[in-house]
Amino acid sequence: MSSAAVVIIAILTLAAALAAATLQKLMHATLSFAVALVGVAALFFLLGAEFVGLVLVFVYIGAVAVLIVFTILLTRRDVGKDRAANWGGAFLAVAVFGGLTWAILKTQSVAVVAPHIRLVTVKRIGEALMTSYVWPLQCVGLLLTAALIGALVLVMEEKP
């Protein structure tokens, strides 16, 4: 893990994210969003969390992005030009960024270098999921089922 790689990927990621937040066309913004998430996944790879990175790509590109473009398709009539940027929001965002950066830079304990750790294999994650995290896993399964049913109910055509 070298700083150069991190910085390059971070710049790409943040540029894509910025594009997602500011591009006029919704479809372009969505695609930029997908690119930004690929960048985040790459950062995960660099941090040694390969599995999470793959899951992120799998879930966000394979599912969430497709869902978003479908929604854009279904609400197409409304996809007009957004009105001019909201400066209040931009100011707030910058202020939050400044505040967070200031806090991070001021905290000395986070200026550490990564220790050498054992590779976290899929097997270890699987074992953790099936032992100490089995209840959260079940809960998430339940949540996803509930979300599935809820989403279906929400978009179901009302019977005439």
């Binding site: 919704l26 950062l43 869902l67 609400t75 965002a93 994650i125 809820g150 978009v155």
Partner: protein, 104 residues
Amino acid sequence: MTPTLQLFLIISAALFSIGLLAALSRRHAIFILIGIEMMLAAANLNFIAFWRFSPQSQPPTGVMIAIFSIAIAAAEAAVGLALVIAVYRHYRTTNVDHLNQLKG
């Protein structure tokens, strides 16, 4: 030269702020959703970074939390987009400026 935790935290803070920007300054409901997803991704990045830069734990807590958070984010996206479609059906718009019937 190896990067420190600070670098990742700043990247994450930047991503979070960009997400906030999208959620605050755009009027289209889908943009707000994208912004929220970006903020969640930033949070995940924080989890992973803190996990990576702290002494090793068994089970890998940060990774586990990130996985669960991704699952929850997926559920949130599904329901959120379904809501957008339902709202669009009803009001023929997804501009949140016009969706203000719940005002005081």
